[in-house]
């Protein structure tokens, strides 16, 4: 009596009651399919967010004035252009630094007119934010010192304004001021969240003198929306952050105990926050899946108990012709494990199919990973084993003569 023989007997017993076996498996199928599909969607989302964030530029550090400081009691302070000059001069292990000021403005080409966010930048902006040029050139130091009225368009902004025309050399108006298009950026192709392809970039100095107006000044000092830095190496990111925080405290007259009225953040922090969120979500989903598998397992146990009762005479007969306790135990255990494993496999297929359909809708590119499949498979087997033990034990414990006389 080997295990193959047992599996054959189990399959026959399950096949004899196809509808019942199918319905019993349904609990496991739905549970496993839910796990696989949800995890595939979750991982797909994480991947797309991660790649978006990475698309913002490698080793990126952003400095900006903090808002909502009222709770901490700290005074909000603007970030000055002079801060940028000091940081650029005094920090080490920085390979790019770009000050920027953002404002919203009315942009028009011909009859196309719409509201855009205009960013005043320096030449380092392209490298720090990981933009590449598709056509023409980027903003240069010369543009800044000459305060030229030139503009570089994000790929989507170019399409929005020019609807397919080549924008190079043409003039657009920003709040009524003429700017000449000198470059178009390559699309970053990143999804959702950050409209990185809808940027409109002008030289920062041109912005101060012609576009931003009084809002970009604080007591006569030029204000920045943010400063972006690119650390030389991922391991240097935290070091650079410390340097920047030190300089800001020093120059704004703050001690170590004061709340820093600036956000100095890296995408690493953002990614780790993201990982924490997805980690929590994963635990949450797993818990729900665990509950549904548990319920499925109870369903299996219930049916197996009925089945043992129904087949009492058969068990008696098997014992009467020499089946040992352990053989009967194995027979029923193999049956439950088969039920839950077949359910698990069908669930994995169903879950993968659901994930595939979700991908086809274009909402999110799902990602079915092997480890989730393996976990589901073994968890399903475990559920079968766990919930199969009691009914199998009951079957094995039947006394042959009583089982044979059972009506």
């Amino acid at each position: 009596m080997n295990i193959l023989e047992n599996i054959r007997i189990s399959f026959r017993a399950l096949a004899a009651n196809k509808l019942r076996s199918g319905l019993t498996m349904l609990g496991i199928i739905i549970g496993v399919a839910a796990v696989v599909a949800l995890m595939a969607i979750g991982r797909g989302a994480t991947r797309s967010v991660t790649s978006s964030v990475e698309g913002l530029g490698s080793n990126l550090i952003s400095i900006s004035a903090a808002r909502n400081l009222s709770q901490t009691g700290a005074q909000s302070k603007p970030l000055y252009y002079s801060d940028y000059l000091v940081i650029e001069k005094e920090t080490s292990n920085v390979i790019g630094i770009s000050p920027s000021y953002q404002t919203s403005a009315q942009v028009q080409y011909g009859s196309n007119q719409s509201q855009f966010t205009i960013t005043g930048v320096s030449p380092d902006f392209a490298q720090v934010q990981a933009y590449t040029i598709a056509q023409g050139r980027f903003i240069t130091n010369g543009d800044n010192s000459a305060e030229s009225r030139v503009v570089v368009l994000g790929s989507q902004a170019a399409i929005d304004l020019f609807s397919g025309l080549n924008p190079m050399g043409r003039d657009i108006t920003i709040n009524g001021i003429n700017f000449t298009v000198v470059g178009v950026l390559t699309s970053k192709g990143s999804t959702g969240f950050f409209s990185t392809d809808e940027v409109i970039l002008i030289p920062l100095q041109t912005g101060y003198s012609r576009l931003f107006g009084g809002r970009a000044l604080d007591n006569g000092k030029r204000v920045l929306s943010s400063i972006s830095l690119s650390a030389a190496d991922p391991n240097e990111v935290n070091n650079v952050i410390s340097q920047v925080e030190y300089i800001l405290r020093r120059d704004h007259g703050l001690t170590l105990h004061d709340t820093l009225p600036f956000n100095v953040s890296s995408q690493n922090q953002f990614l780790s926050t993201l990982n924490t969120i997805t980690g929590t979500l994963t635990v949450f989903l797993s818990a729900i899946a665990g509950i549904s598998l548990f319920v499925g397992g109870i369903g299996i146990m219930n049916i197996m108990l009925v089945s043992v009762r129904e087949r009492t005479r058969e068990i008696g007969l098997r014992k009467a012709v020499g089946a040992r306790r352990s053989v009967i135990l194995m027979q029923f255990l193999v049956e439950t494990v088969t039920l839950s494993l077949v359910g698990g496999i069908l669930g994995i297929l169903l879950g993968a199919a659901i994930a595939g359909v979700v991908t086809l809708t274009g909402l999110i590119t799902t990602y079915v990973s092997l480890d989730v499949i393996l976990y589901s498979f073994f968890f399903a087997a475990l559920v079968g084993l766990f919930f199969g033990i009691y009914p199998a034990y009951q079957a094995a414990s039947l006394r042959p003569i009583e089982a044979l006389r059972y009506e």
């Binding site: 023989e5 009467a320 012709v321 040992r324 306790r325 042959p400």
Partner: protein
């Protein structure tokens, strides 16, 4: 071969004790063919269950081939059932939706017989009971008599030393019943197996060598049959049923 010494089987039903068997002393020699008779509730089936190691006595000693059965553990009892005893029930007890061949294979399966030898032995047993042309039929495709033959093939497939038949013809018509007792006679003669056969039918009982009568769990008579009837002998019209 079979020795029972003061064997009792006591069931407790609430406050009451039911002595299904009450101090049975019995010896059956190897190669004997014995009929057990008695009214319903006289303890015939309990006796058979104990002889077949499906149950153990509450009191007394049962020695099978000299070995006291009480001392065997559950697995050893299973092995005795698998190798030494072949049991035929009134309700055939065949597995449904399972071919005759696979029903007969069952005891071999649990005895660890593998491969071709297993199928050959099972086929041989089916041929012995005259079902060589029905091996792939399922129980629901067979008549009552044929089903009981499959059950007999299953009982003898492992060459047991004892064949126990608990009213095997109880659910069959008289003619088929006589064919079945004929089959047991043949097995007894050809293979020398010990046969213990429970029946209500005195005519059938006289096909054996010895008739034991039970009433209320006690043996009230134990007589040899001087001239066992050969199977196929017509049933006498009047003297048929002796109650």
């Amino acid at each position: 071969m079979i020795e029972l010494e003061n064997v009792s089987k006591i069931y407790k039903l609430g406050q009451n004790e039911v002595r299904a068997l009450d101090g049975i002393d019995l010896q059956i020699q190897a190669g004997e063919m014995v009929a057990v008779m008695g009214p319903s509730g006289s303890g015939k089936s309990t006796l058979m269950a104990i002889l077949g190691c499906l149950d153990v006595p509450t009191e007394g000693v049962y020695r099978l081939e000299g070995e006291p059965v009480e001392k065997l553990n559950e697995n050893q009892l299973a092995q005795v059932r698998s190798r030494k005893v072949g049991f035929v029930f009134q309700q055939f007890n065949l597995l449904p939706r399972t071919s005759a061949l696979e029903n007969v294979i069952l005891p071999l399966l649990y005895d660890g017989v593998h491969g071709k030898a297993r199928t050959e032995k099972a086929k041989a047993a089916l041929i012995t009971v005259g079902l060589g042309d029905r091996i792939n039929h399922r129980p629901n495709q067979l008549s009552g008599g044929e089903q009981q033959r499959v059950a007999i093939a299953r009982a003898l497939v492992n060459d047991p030393t004892i064949l126990l038949a608990d009213e095997p013809t109880g659910n069959l018509d008289t003619k088929t019943g006589e064919e079945i007792i004929g089959l047991f006679q043949k097995l007894h003669q050809e293979k020398g197996q010990t046969v213990v056969y429970v029946t209500h039918d005195a005519f059938i009982a006289r096909h054996t060598q010895r008739i034991i009568r039970l009433v209320d769990g006690k043996i009230i008579s134990d007589d040899p049959v001087t001239h066992p009837i050969l199977a196929g002998t017509p049933r006498p019209e009047e003297a048929g049923e002796i109650k």
